[in-house]
């Protein structure tokens, strides 16, 4: 069940911290770009070299990231996300990451069934047969639509191989 009541303590991750982290990450992206572009040539060689454009954009990104960093340091402190909200987000995000990992090993059909069931059991209050039905129907419908109707192959794992697909 989702705890719908607002958390008693409104403490959470600092917004200024996240703003600064994002600015620094963007600066890092800009630095990587500049390093890569100047490494291949960002100048002029009978025409613009292939690093010319990315390097200019890299400088612009660096400037923008610096500006956001400065304004982040000067802004008033507020809460980016409360710990209660973060816990809720994690309850969606962690299963999602596991799901993506499972697709690599089990194929998308088994992984989807497990994901649906896990999600409905942990976050919802369904009867067992509703959960089972959803976990069974979703992969079957997906299989029918994609593999049979549109002939788009989706990632498959050992079970599908054993069944001859």
């Amino acid at each position: 069940m989702i705890d719908a009541s607002p958390p008693a303590d409104e403490r959470g991750v600092s917004r200024r911290l996240v703003e600064c982290l994002v600015s620094l990450l963007l600066l890092g992206v800009a630095a990587l770009t500049l390093w890569d572009s100047y490494g291949r040539g960002a100048g002029w060689d009978g025409g613009p070299e292939n690093g010319f454009f990315p390097a200019r954009v890299g400088w612009i990104l660096a400037a923008a990231a610096l500006a956001t960093l400065v304004s982040a340091l000067r802004r008033e402190e507020s809460v980016f996300v409360t710990y209660g909200q973060l816990r809720l987000v994690a309850r969606v995000f962690v299963p999602l990451a596991l799901y993506v990992l499972a697709i690599a090993y089990l194929g998308i059909y088994l992984a989807s069934a497990a994901f649906m069931a896990g999600f409905m059991l942990t976050l919802g209050d369904f009867r067992w047969w509703q959960t089972a039905l959803a976990a069974l129907l979703v992969p079957l419908v997906v299989f029918w639509v994609f593999e049979l109707q549109f002939r788009v192959p989706l990632p498959k794992g050992p079970l599908e191989a054993a069944l001859g697909y």
Partner: protein, 508 residues
Amino acid sequence: MDNLNQLLLGFQIALTWHNVAFMIIGVLLGIVVGVLPGLGGPNGVAILLPLTFGMDPTSAIILLSSIYWGALFGGAITSILFNIPGEAWSVATTFDGYPMAQQGRAGEALTAAFTASFIGALAGVVLITFVAPLVARFALRFGPAEFFGVFFLTFCSFIGMGKENKAKIVASLALGFLLAAVGLDTISGDLRLTFGASELMKGFDFLVVVIGLFGVSEILLTIEEGLHFKGKRAAIDLAVVLRTWAALPRHWATLVRSSVVGMWMGVTPGGAIAASFMGYGLAKRFARDPERFGKGEVAGVLAPETAAHAAGTSALLPMLALGIPGSATAAVLLGGLMIWGLQPGPLLFVEQKEFVWGLIASMYLGNVAGLLIVLATVPVFAAIMRIPFALVAPLILVVCAIGAYTVESSRFDIWLMLVFGVVGYVFKKLDYPLAPLVLALVLGDRAEDAFRQALLGSGGDLSVFFSNGLVSTLMILGLLLLVWGPLSEIGRRLVRRLLPGRVASASP
């Protein structure tokens, strides 16, 4: 007259049985997409785009643009019944729409919203019918420098007109450009920004990025809110519809004003959101008793919906005529054109007459079909919001994962979707705008090509961007738009200093 003949030809194409069927399926899917949290216009179109790879381009764009119309209609349902704007441009609709629903006038509010959407969209389509061919014919004379000028103007107007922190808009745009640059460079044949990773060789596909940025992140944001939708019930019967329609002529001035504002803001990119607020603001300013706004005034629903849809539709004008999308969804549709093997740009009107006019005709038909369908099916779609989130969320996420995979049959793309989901979540919470990122990602390669071709032609002389009246005008307009924000900010501060008190109460 020539345009009308072409339009008739378009109707012949759009009115075939399977195209009408696609239109209806598209509108229905679009309403679902617009109503569900975590799915919106750009994301819904992006997920379905891979399924259309094998289709005839005209049918494919009719299906996808109908999803767009449906999503525009669907956004109004959640705004009015649940006070949850499905899309950013339906925020202004909640101001008066939700109070009306609270007073038990939900049917009236919904009818007004849908009809206003229809009128706005119609205004946009008429604009496209008559102006887009002219713009395209004019643009046939464009060389690379002029095209770069148009790109430049587009990006500058994003920066200048955007409501967010300017540095964040620039960062978002720049990040989009860099993501677009990753992978094989088409002119030199070199690999750029891959750092030796073979997964990055093919670059970042904008569809995967859109699915992550708009889909996964939206689910994360929705769960954060705690999730307890308290909706108002609505039933629309014919009497309510007719009564609301009978009252519409009284609001003709609001409708015309909002349509014009919407059309103008839609052609200049990034407009639908601003247009809806401007439409609302104008209606309030010109109203006889502005006091009633915010408490359930019909004009307060009509104005933003008309403007938002006029803008959303007009956003397709630069996409068709110049190959430059005016919104995130238009950017995804433009990406679709390239995937179907069509070269976006002014030549489309010459070489792909059937496609262009079939699409334009389908806009008329799609909006008529959309209005009828949405009026008939509101209770069904309002019920979708009552399906428990613990069932809807994993479904949407499974669909997102499949959508990300099918773009290029790559498992790595599913991981990318997850990463961009987190990026989208953080960016949205920090008010980094996402539309510029998507736009730059879609247009990045073409803007760069235009830039490099123009410079190659001139031997590296930057004065090529000011070499004739046309390109100079574009560049100077772009630069003006770029500084428009700071200038108007300075102006506002001056006013505030001169007239303290009065302005402070007017600013939100």
